[in-house]
Amino acid sequence: MENIRNQIKNFFLRILNIPFAFLMHAIDLIMWPVQKIIGVKNMPYIFLLPNLIFFGLFVIIPLGANFFFSLSSGDELLFTERELPTTKQYDQLFDCESYLNPNTCTEDFFWRGVYNTIFFVVFQVGLMIFFSVLTAVILNKKIIGRGFFRSVFFFPVLLSPVVVGLIWQWILLKNGAFNAIIESYGGDKVSFLTDPSWAMASVIFVSIWAHMGFYTLIVLAGLQAIPPNLYEAAEMDGTSRERIFFRITLPLLMPNLLVVFILASIKGVQTFDEIYVLTGGGPGTSTSLIVQYIFTTGFASSGSVQNFGLAAAASMVLGVVLLFLTLMQLYFSRNKESKHQEI
């Protein structure tokens, strides 16, 4: 039976292989003369070329162009139609009487986005790390049905932001399942998504729900890397479980948590899609973050002119924040590696 199934599988794989082999042979007809002309030594450049062209076109050139857009003004997307150079966008972006009060800024929407992002990232990342560690520690125990529980906690990671947003928008409706549960326990209905004081909390909750599995997985990998003989030794000494956790598990997990912290911050700062589907940044501006501002000013301003320059300038500000976080990540992950080598 197994044999027949394998034969069928191989048969289909072979059929699938035909167009692939055909394509590869066809490319070889070009590559062979190329190799004859430039020599084996220069072949790696040919192999690198397609990828580098894509990187150049869609990453490197845009990065340079972003500077240009942010430093030029005008309503046109074409380079030649824009006025150069100007710091107008940055002036406008940073034009505030007091940076602590978004209402005094010309671009109050941007500054609200900045403060919302800070608030969002602090709570989302903090709570997410707490729950990831808790979940990972529990999933690392010898429990019944461990595989099942692991996949349950991981599952939401694979859902698209639109799906996550719609599911939760519907559950958090005023007449939704959550309110039905609350009422059945004698509570009052809550407008989770339309009450400004609740909207941010709901958004943070949903975003943790959607991404926690990913970080749990990383923490779990870190937990499994802790040498089991440490636990055995502690157990033999009769150390209490609480003490084992705080004296062995947590300290050895620290380098891992640092990476999780920075990774989650990098992702958190760029959060857009779930919130866009869930609340659209509202009510008012209470859940709109920086990327929402970039998107709205650059692409979705209804009626008024799309302001590419302003969006580009805001992107640059976001870029600086991300650069800082990424450098931190590189620094710490390098530290982590060198520590591993020492052990």
């Binding site: 192999f47 162009a65 972003n66 979940t135 519907w170 990383i218 033999m236």
Partner: protein
């Protein structure tokens, strides 16, 4: 072995926690139970509710199973009316259809005798339900709206983009792992560099580049910008570095061209890494939202994600269709996950990316 030493060994190896439940064990199971409810519950709830009628979805408090109220056509009324069991003053129970609700009373009519209407206090009536699966929720949007087209667009983007990504990434990885050449380190740093630049900070200029190629509102405008992934190059390169060099040398001795070595020797040996990248790429592309949202503004090129979002925006009250289409959107990924769960989780744990 003397008796004392064996006793010492016994004491030393005795498991302290064996057969003894610690409070953390109880807490663990409680937490896991709550976790299953919270993580998996919404999706199950979505699946069940997508089979309800619109009236059943809007019911509050909601029922768990797709139970819908039976409705009957009554002469003289345009719409079918919902039926209730009504307890009458003498204690008998009678089936009546409700015309409308007025405050605490309901205006009802006997379906057998449609001339006469009666007023009934609402706490005296009880809904008559039946188990009914509303397959129309799934069929109607595919027929009446363009969801089949969105599905096709999403599939096209996912398949083509994944193929392009696999080919060009594996080519670059091959060059960076097998050869020594001038500028190799520069190329490596270049690739790392692109890893640091997420799409969100170059939205405007990438849009400019795509617009220059005339790819706005074209599926290629979605496929091409993300085709070269630095993570993919790295993943494949790390794997290809472990391949034995003798194989490549042997192939060269046999006068294989470099291209033939790439696709006949290195690619087949790298299948595990390529499979991981393929799954990631499928996930990224299928779930992608922000970039398609910017590039695609005409409904005939919408992907499933964009279409679903737009559909929800237009028809906020049509939750039955929104829920069923959400289900359709998440199903392919759920199926892939069910089959390749271990593969995906180890892939993520070993690369630290998603």
């Amino acid at each position: 072995m003397s008796e004392t030493t064996s006793r010492i060994i016994k004491i030393a190896t005795k498991k302290r926690y064996k057969n003894k439940y610690h409070w953390t064990d109880y807490f663990s199971y409680f937490y896991l139970f709550l976790g299953v409810l919270l993580m998996f519950g919404p999706v199950v709830w979505l699946g069940l509710s997508s089979l309800k009628t619109l009236a059943g979805i809007q019911e509050y408090p909601p029922t768990i199973l797709p139970l819908s109220q039976i409705q009957v056509d009554v002469e003289g009324y345009d719409k079918p009316l919902p039926i209730f069991n009504v307890t009458q003053e003498d204690g008998s129970v009678k089936q009546l259809a409700q015309i409308k609700r007025i405050g605490i009373n309901a205006k009802m009519v006997d379906p057998l005798n449609p001339e006469e209407t009666v007023k009934v206090p609402i706490d005296k009536r009880e809904k008559i339900r039946e188990f009914k699966i509303q397959w129309e929720n799934y069929v109607d949007p595919l027929r009446k709206y363009d969801f089949l087209l969105y599905f096709k667009n999403s599939t096209f983007i996912t398949v083509v983009a994944t193929i392009i990504t696999l080919i060009i990434n594996s080519m670059a990885a091959y060059a960076l792992s097998i050869y020594e050449f001038r500028g190799k380190n520069f190329a490596l740093v270049f690739v790392i560099g692109t890893l640091l630049i997420p799409l969100t900070i170059i939205l405007v200029p990438v849009f400019y580049v795509v617009a220059n190629f005339g790819m706005i509102n074209s599926l290629w405008g979605v496929i091409l910008p993300g085709a070269a992934t630095p993570t993919g190059v790295f993943l494949l390169r790390q794997y290809m570095l472990t391949l034995p060099r003798e194989l490549i040398e042997a192939a060269r001795m046999d006068h294989a061209s470099e291209w033939a070595i790439y696709w006949r020797v290195v690619l087949p040996l790298s299948i595990p890494a390529i499979a991981v990248l393929a799954i990631f790429s499928i996930m990224w592309r299928w779930n992608d939202f922000l970039w398609p949202l910017i590039v695609l503004s005409k409904s005939e090129v919408y992907t499933l994600q964009i279409g679903l979002n737009a559909f929800h925006g237009e028809l906020t009250s049509q939750w039955n269709y929104v829920l069923s289409m959400t289900m359709v959107t998440l199903l392919p990924i759920a199926i892939i996950f069910a089959y390749l769960q271990k593969f995906i989780t180890t892939g993520i744990a070993s690369t630290g990316m998603k």
